[in-house]
Amino acid sequence: MTTPALALDSLSQSFGGLQVLTDLSLSVPAGRATALIGPNGAGKTTVFNVVSGVYAPTAGRVLLHGRDITAMPSRRRIRHGLARSFQNVRLMDHLSVVENLIVGQHATTRGLSDLLTPFRLWPEHRWRRQAVDALAEVGLSAHADAAVGALPYGIRKRIDLVRATLAGASLLMLDEPAAGLNPTEMNALRDHLALLRRRGVTLLVVEHDMRFVGEVCDWVVALDFGQKITEGPLAEVQRDERVRAAYLGQAA
């Protein structure tokens, strides 16, 4: 078996007395799109936060392409191929769209000379061009110089995703990329994810919209109360009694 892009090994996470993840093991095969589903509060975002290093897990290990990164400082992980987007869209409000993207390129730059090049003296510097090209590729270049706060939610959400792709990451974790998008934006998002998959990027997607999950992902892992309850193709997972019970429990 080839090394998975990401593997969680008996991961546990608690906040104070609250046990959020319990002995969670799962693996994300390279080059595929895997969905992580579960009712509200199941611990999906917490998985992302532990994998990206925002929280250190209480127990267990995180393996990125077979390498143990559990103790690696969060900021180093992107250079090892790990990038993510955010459920609540965390673009930097004090920066324009293109400036946000240039920050997102950081992992592709090298050393003090790149840090201190006054590149904004050149209006067509390659860093800016690359950022604008990345926007153009998904039809968002009209917003390049917009102030982030002035943009509608759906656009900001998609720019958050573009920013996550600019470090050349091999594994992209997307936290509810479709939430709040209108149908047109959903189509654009599907095309964007297809493009990323053609480039060989591995996706781990948290999403509540099951139709979207079925279209984008070929494997589904279901969580409830921080534990894996089942995994498999979407149709199978949706038929699973425990999954139905978990979602019913939420509705009740």
């Binding site: 509200n40 950081h106 003296l121 470090a167």
Partner: protein, 287 residues
């Protein structure tokens, strides 16, 4: 230029230098309320070097800047563990400690002050100010400056982008201190005298005040703030004894009308046509 005008211009220059010393860390959201302390380190450091060691001015003033930077570097790591109001208080206390040390240091005259033999004319002051403004402008065109703003917006995301947040913050505070030290070093040599009492709390706080008044969104805000703060009291002289009241009222008025400062990012974004302002129609998802 009359003596009055050149005197005013020199004071403006020192205010501009101090403004940029405060601006750099502030761009990353760090409030340095002890800038006068770093100026004192530069002033005494450079004066000791020319007075006691016979160094030329062109070497002593940069050395004073480096000394201030070194102090900042040593204290930055513990200080930057604190955030928000605590960081402001820590730098405030540091400024007080530094001034108190010089006030009690007999080799530099203690409370009586320290006469400085070597003299720097107005030309030197203008040259240093020009160099500082040019350097900060160039810096504002770099990734470093972009990262400072990113840190102010969202340090967690900036970290996940691979940026060394703590390193950038230390660098901003230290570079600001170097600028303050350079300004302090030249100050002593221009006025031929250094006294610890000059580098007091009011100096630190006024500097922050006019940087905020000018605005920290662009590199020109601090310059405009310093000009405003230096020239306005002179203009208000016609008001006689009431000028300080008028001055305070004007500052409060400006802060109320333009909380982002006089110069905002929008005032400079002219290259591209303004994007259509579509109101955010959809509610934010939970979290």
């Amino acid at each position: 230029m009359s003596g009055y005008q050149s005197g005013l211009l020199v004071i403006l220059c020192f205010n501009v230098i101090a403004a940029y010393a405060v601006y750099l860390p502030l761009a990353a959201g760090q409030l340095n309320l002890g800038v006068a302390g770093f100026m004192a380190v530069g002033a005494y450091g450079a004066a000791i070097l020319t007075n006691e060691m016979g160094w030329p001015l062109v070497a002593a003033v940069p050395a004073g800047g480096l000394a201030a930077g070194l102090v900042a570097l040593v204290v930055a790591v513990p200080i930057l563990r604190t955030q928000g109001i605590y960081l402001a208080l820590a730098t405030f206390a540091l400024g007080q400690v530094i001034a108190a040390i010089f006030l009690n240091l007999d080799i530099v005259g203690g409370a009586a002050g320290y006469p400085v033999a070597a003299y720097a004319g107005p030309g030197g002051v203008y040259a240093l100010t020009g160099a500082v403004v040019a350097a900060v402008f160039l810096l504002s065109r770099t990734r470093f400056a972009l990262y400072l703003t990113a840190i102010k917006s969202d340090p967690v995301v900036t970290d996940l982008m691979g940026i060394d947040v703590r390193g950038m913050q230390v660098a901003a505070l230290t570079l600001g201190a170097v600028i303050a030290g350079l300004g302090g070093g030249l100050y002593g040599h221009h006025f031929s005298f250094v006294e610890a009492q000059h580098f007091n709390v009011a100096l630190s706080i006024y500097t922050v005040l006019y940087v905020l008044l000018g605005g920290v969104q662009t590199v020109w805000g601090p310059l405009v703030g310093a000009v405003f703060f230096t020239v306005l009291p002179e203009v208000l002289r016609v008001g006689g004894g009431w000028r300080y009241v008028l001055f305070a009222l004007l500052i409060i008025g400006f802060m109320a009308l333009r909380p982002q400062g006089i110069v905002t990012a929008g005032s400079w974004r002219r290259r591209s046509p303004a994007p259509a302002r579509v109101p955010a129609s959809l509610p934010e998802a939970a979290e």
